[in-house]
Symmetry: C3
Subunit: 412 residues, 3 copies
């Protein structure tokens, strides 16, 4: 549509609503974060930038407790009654079975009843209803809206709508962003971090309540510490277009002494983008960009120096014709993991992947699935637990969970 | 299909089923109402004509109690366990996100598990199953069917099917009509009435348990009484095609001393239809038909004499070519509310709208949303509470709710 | 696709996965059955061949108890809390409203939370995810997968995947086959058997706790015994293509002294197929094949000698052109039940039909619905109860149900 045609007619209310939020949307994230809180607690979950290291530790601790409680009937009963009076709406106008089911399961663990809207092209919109009228109407019936949309910033706009409603004394509910366009997907980065947190506890509760694994590892790697700080993280594949890479790298930059190694072709589409490089270096993160796992940093091949490895899929569905031409000249086989490469990883290195993996490209062939370092399936299940923890936090019941855990788990 | 072609082949069982109910369907509503009851209690909810003033008062009272109980954990627990052994089916072959979600939420408040059928073109119908076989099969699995269909009278036919099954000693479940074609949508009129009941209590429980607002209003309007009787109700916009207008006007005609003012263009499509005018006047309702809020009745402009205002959308999707031609000569801007008009309404006048409103026509511009008289968003939420009350009544647990409310709310 | 084109490219992982299971799939059923168990208890439900007579008796007994408990509030509360910590996924990529709703209801009776995936063409598969990756991912979030697919053997493959995961110490959940192509639909045969079990108890609990009906019947039919053994079962209609006929006949062949009468046209598509005939006779079942209810066996017309009658629909949607030509020469009216035929059935003969019935063909006209022998609607509801019993068994809570039943039902 040319700008002339815009001038010819009056703007619709939908367009006016968007303009109304535009100036707030354009502010830097750090200015917006306080508005997503409520008495310094998480209220709306819109950006991964909302999660401080403290918040991430609290959420992981709550997730661990939910997980432990759900192994016992008494704990399950406690959990499924905890929020049984709450009703969530999953407004998923951009389909995503994986994220959808993970949120459904997370809700159900805490007893939250779920409802879904997948196709918004209802009669209401053809009858001239604005998007914000629809969302406000939905908020009449539910206590929480979890939304996934192709429209970048729709979740953020809805958060502002809810804040405005609250200020004018009206009903208002929390908004959780479950993915908005190519933009933000904050709960994906939560589950990536939680998987790393679990791995770097060096305590697998499936094996023993007090693991001695860490002590053993320290003999091989005397500098090893628990936790996410002071570690080397490798990101391999489609770095340029990886929304999950960007978010996770951003969160890792909050931890001390972190080194990030990006293993990607020297290609404008696939390599690290300037804006992310600048953001990370400005925060004091040490960055390396290499083209292969075999490249050496201070004499050591990358594959042998990593503490964690985050694999990604080449997002070929976003290729443009120039990409097709460029990629055919690249040796993309370097960005596929092989059993030989895995054998050279340190013994404790968690291998993550945001999934789905691509069977045709084969960035992680299935032979690797049985390796104890393959964390990508546990990662999906971790997403369920950390989302349950997030919901508990949004509804303010995390302390109830802690109390029950402390009181009951000793007697079970 | 010509009648000849009908003669050429034997009627299908689906057609025979319909004929079988046709003679019952064609009776006047008052003859049918007793069949929708069970021991003088509501059983199937098919027509808005089923709701007597007493029933409306009982339902509002139950809705108020459910609403109050749902503010406390003990009350929520009571409610979500009340009907947790019941399973409802929402058979929504005509999509309606709004009504669907409202019923879902209403069920969930009382712990009823919901299931949905949205697309009935399953393999069963292509395999030659009759509609009644399908409905009877569905009734095997559920305790209640809430149905919305484009087929006028499908819900009514299903109610007869269930009654016939019951008489022959078979399993039978209640049917709730959630909108059948252009015909009936009884729970919409319930929520309109409930919104008026709440407004005309002149007691906002959000502010204080015993409000003094009514006393203050009486000083300005000495004739003001509580309740729906003896009030002036304005209906503005598309009166002719408004299913909700017809139902609400019908229910209001049961109250004493009611005056209805219809503000609509003098156009055969949009103005009050003869049948509704006759029905209302035959019941002793005082009626005025005007073309503008500025028209005067006994010297007073309509906008200043109303006790309640029901706005509607021009249903342009039902326009035929003649309508298009006629409407272009009308001044439809008269049927849009403005801040200036709202300022002239009495201070207590609830503004209702069945929603969605039309952003392109603009019958209620968003500037009005912040006015305390704007009830249209609360109206949607009221729909959830009154539907919960209706479900409680159909399952016969309204007295349990009253008992719990009386016993517990004094101690909370 | 020609085999040449297969050679030209490397197989996809999806194809390799299938090949990987192919050799296991091709084994005879009896070799596979132990792998579907877990400590001699049902784990995955894939084939109707898994149900021994003892298993069928146990399941019917559990179903009867669930049914009885669900009539009382205390029993309902017990049941809806029994598995309230479990989450099922209904992966129904082949639509079936009937089976879907029946499983949903069965889950809900036991408090299991349900989630559904109906359309698997999500972004994940277009991104190159293998089917097994998808299923394994789903299994992360849920405790049970109930699947219906057009792909014969998909459920079986998934059961092997889960077994392999379990062996390698990974998370694994039970798989229930809710219909896979033209192949197996084990829970349909369960409900058919359960309906016969109920009928041949000769004790209708709706009437009296200790019925005297059986004693009365014995006066007319001195050889009558309780239970499924030593009975004559008639199957009428589309025997050749009837998946339900094949499964039910197979299960009945486990009972002693069973006679099966197939009433079908002498047509290669519709008549009993060689493989089933061989399988049944090899198990010592007595078989008769006739073309009409009027045909005589040892002097008695078939219609008068049956103990149970299983009607079916002619599956005309599977007709090929040769069938169309052949069928037009057959007298298919012989395979329709009439009130006159029903009048000649023994007084206790249950009439079953897997439903839907075909209104255009009319194999069971609605006049027959009121006959007390018409069991086809109860049969659908029986499906819900027996599926609930199956779920209870898979989750190992059938003994809890028995204990509660024995303790509480005496005091109710």
């Amino acid at each position: 549509m040319s700008s002339d045609s815009l001038i010819e007619r009056a703007p619709t209310q939908d367009e006016l609503d968007l303009l109304n939020y535009q100036s707030r949307i354009e502010r830097p994230v750090r200015m917006k974060i306080p508005e997503m809180c409520h008495d310094e607690k998480l209220r709306h979950i819109i950006f991964s930038g909302q999660f401080s290291v403290d918040t991430l530790e609290d959420l992981a601790s709550t997730a661990d407790k939910i997980r432990a409680l759900s192994r016992y009937r008494a704990g399950q009963n406690f959990l499924t009654n905890l929020l049984s009076h709450k009703r969530a709406m999953l407004y998923f106008t951009q389909p995503s079975t994986r994220t959808f089911l993970s949120f459904m399961a997370a809700c159900q663990i805490l007893g939250i009843t779920c409802n879904e809207v997948r196709d918004p092209t209802t009669s209401s919109e053809t009858k001239g209803e604005t998007r914000l009228d629809s969302i406000r109407m939905f908020s009449s019936y539910f206590d929480l809206i979890i939304m996934r949309s192709k429209l970048a910033r729709l979740a953020e706009s809805c958060a502002y709508l809810m804040n405005d409603l609250e200020e004018s004394g009206n009903r208002s509910v929390p908004i959780i962003n479950a993915g908005s366009g190519a933009d933000e997907h904050p709960t994906q980065s939560l589950l990536d971090i939680y998987t790393l947190q679990r791995s770097f506890q060096f305590t697998d509760p499936k094996d023993s309540p007090v693991s001695t694994r860490f002590e053993k590892l320290r003999k091989e790697s005397p500098n090893l510490v628990k936790g996410l700080a002071h570690k080397v993280y490798g990101f391999c594949g489609d770095i340029g277009r990886g929304r999950t890479v960007r978010s996770l790298a951003g969160l890792l930059s909050n931890y001390e002494g972190v080194t990030l190694v990006f293993i990607a072709p020297n290609d404008p589409t696939l390599a690290l983008r300037d804006d992310l490089r600048r953001r990370l270096t400005s925060r004091g993160v040490q960055i390396h960009e290499v083209e292969s796992f075999e490249d050496r940093i201070e004499g050591t091949p990358v594959i042998e120096m990593l503490d964690a490895l985050y694999m990604t899929r080449i997002q070929k569905e976003h290729n443009d014709p120039a990409d097709e031409a460029n990629f055919s000249e690249l040796d993309l086989s370097r960005y596929k993991l092989t059993p030989e490469l895995v054998a050279r990883l340190k013994t404790y290195v968690p291998i993550l992947h945001p999934f789905p993996r691509d069977q045709h490209f084969g960035e992680i062939p299935p032979e690797i699935d049985d390796d104890p370092r393959a964390m990508y399936f546990r990662q999906a299940r971790n997403g369920m637990w950390i989302r349950a923890a997030l919901l508990a936090s949004v509804f303010g019941v995390e302390h109830q969970i802690s109390r029950f855990f402390n009181d009951e788990m000793t007697t079970i």
